[in-house]
Symmetry: C2
Subunit: 332 residues, 2 copies
């Protein structure tokens, strides 16, 4: 049987386990032009919170009773598709389930002899590509500029900060517990970091850690942390709006200080992006990241929950900041 996690209810505020439902269906056979994947790893990512809501967004929501959407990696078990053979390892948007049938659209063959399969969901997948294009294309980072990364110990933030270090930039991270701070500074090599959960005055602390101001702010969280960073941006700063996780689980939208006036004073830019807009250039990013990995210049960390049944709890934990690095579920 194929165990699947369905969306059972649209969450109000933070998702609860009861917003999900486990279902078992027969393992589906592939039709002509399709193949069946046995899923080995599922990726959990903050954007999925948006798909649980039916507020207008860039992508249609998951419907109630539908399998939760999500990137996954697995192995082809049976194929009626000319380009996929049994035993091929693939990534794609296979959803929160044990088996998926695909016609190959949006899937990619990967080589687990070059890197662990799970890495293709993270540092060598959407995560790494998001960090790469966010920092270098949207952020237009120049060598030596001052960088701040929020959500610094998260999957994307941890890679973004390391790419900035490769570019010779001073990098300050913001994260939510002492172990994460230790990790980004002592393992990943950020120049400094602080724990927003114990810091009484974010703005003062950012001023201390970034005496030269902030040229590029890679924002994964939004909210009060972002307000504080805005106060320290330099002339011609770029704010890379990658995520706003602090805002995703609010019962009702939060208000905050108006930030556009600061963009005028600093002749600065805030730009939101979705990694899909760089689809034609993924290979460029992955080639660079693979080289940096090989050279030991990028480290990554994965955290895996065990079994499809654990996906809802692991997802809720990630939204609460329980993870360091990439949050995965080992499906098989």
């Amino acid at each position: 049987m194929n165990k699947q996690i369905l969306l059972a209810a649209r969450p109000v505020g933070f998702p609860k386990e009861s917003d999900f439902r486990l279902m078992e269906t027969p393992v589906p056979p592939p039709n002509d032009g399709e193949f069946r994947v046995k899923i080995l790893w599922l990726s959990l990512d903050p954007y999925m919170r948006g798909r649980m809501s039916d507020a207008p967004s860039y992508a249609p929501p998951v419907q109630l009773g539908e399998v939760m959407t999500g990137g996954a990696a697995g192995v082809v078990e049976e194929s009626k598709h000319p380009n996929y053979q049994t035993g091929d390892f693939v990534t794609g948007n296979f959803g929160w389930q044990q088996f998926a049938v695909s016609d190959g659209r949006g899937t990619m063959k990967v080589d687990p002899s070059l890197a662990p399969l799970s890495a293709y969901l993270g540092v060598l997948g959407m995560t790494g590509v998001t960090a790469y294009f966010g920092l270098l294309d949207i952020g237009q980072l120049k060598d030596g500029e001052s960088v701040v990364v929020s959500g610094a110990a998260g999957a994307v933030g941890s890679i973004a900060g390391q790419i900035a270090k490769i570019k010779g930039c001073p990098v300050v991270g913001i994260a939510g517990d002492a172990a994460k701070i230790h990790y980004v500074v002592n393992v990943l090599g950020f120049d400094a970091a602080f724990n927003y959960k114990t810091e009484p005055d974010y703005s003062q602390r950012i001023g201390e850690l970034c005496p030269q101001g902030v040229d590029v702010y890679f924002d994964n969280v939004g909210g009060a942390i972002t307000d504080a960073v805005f106060a320290h941006i330099n002339k011609h700063a770029r704010i890379v709006v990658c995520g706003q996780i602090s805002q995703y689980n609010l019962d009702k939208p939060e208000v905050g200080p108006r930030l556009l006036g600061q963009l005028i004073k600093k002749q600065a830019r805030a730009e939101g992006f979705l990694v899909y807009q760089f689809a034609s250039r993924y290979k460029e990013a992955i080639t660079h990241i693979a080289q940096w990995l090989k050279d030991g210049k990028i480290k990554y960390c994965e955290q895996a929950a065990e079994g499809i049944e654990s996906a809802p709890g692991a997802f809720i934990g990630m939204l609460n900041g329980a993870n360091t690095g990439k949050q995965l579920v080992r499906i098989a």
Copy 2:
């Protein structure tokens, strides 16, 4: 004697007449390398509100007891500068006064036989240049894209909207009284406009007037109007943050909905700018605008208060939206 308007007090909220003081001093003689200008026209602009405050900004504040800063146009009366002759017409940052001495830095000779002298403070000066670079460089406007302009009847907004029309774009204006709405639609040729002071639901109205969404938003006002426009931006929209006049006279900063999440959903950009960053390209803008003026494709409107003593009242009026088009003071 030289009548001057000094900054007497830093305003709290809206400036009052008592925040200014009239002073008479002897008409200054030019030293070697300098010339004296008899000022004929003074430009009043929203940015001056920022200079009255000592909050950190992109330019140092006017000090208490100093002459108020401001662009002006006049005629050289006496010169000890090799490049300026008696009778030359010039623009420069001469301040709120009847006579100024300059060493030529930041001044420009202009030809009043080509256009009225006052136009060099407006459509052929900083105003026009601001609209031009804001719309075309910061906004990266492409032919046929949908444009919204706030502060549409103001000096910059009225030019920005007309340049967008020249580029074949549908343009919607937002302004604060019925006469202004009539002016931008029936005189300037905007496709539509609405009066935010009588409109109960900005967002609904913008949705009606921009059924195709908003590609470029030229923002002069900020606040609730901008919140409403954000709800209608298209994928890859550009928000040109030129001014935030609704925020300049608040006793304490306002809060509002957080807007960065919408930038992600729409892969959109908000960018602030100051016209000075385009200083090396002013000529390009002025050449184009002069041609459009000649071709009758751009119209402009000026409103002049009479005499240096009227400057504070006219400035306060402008901050309240009393002007249509460029607000000037006729000094002599």
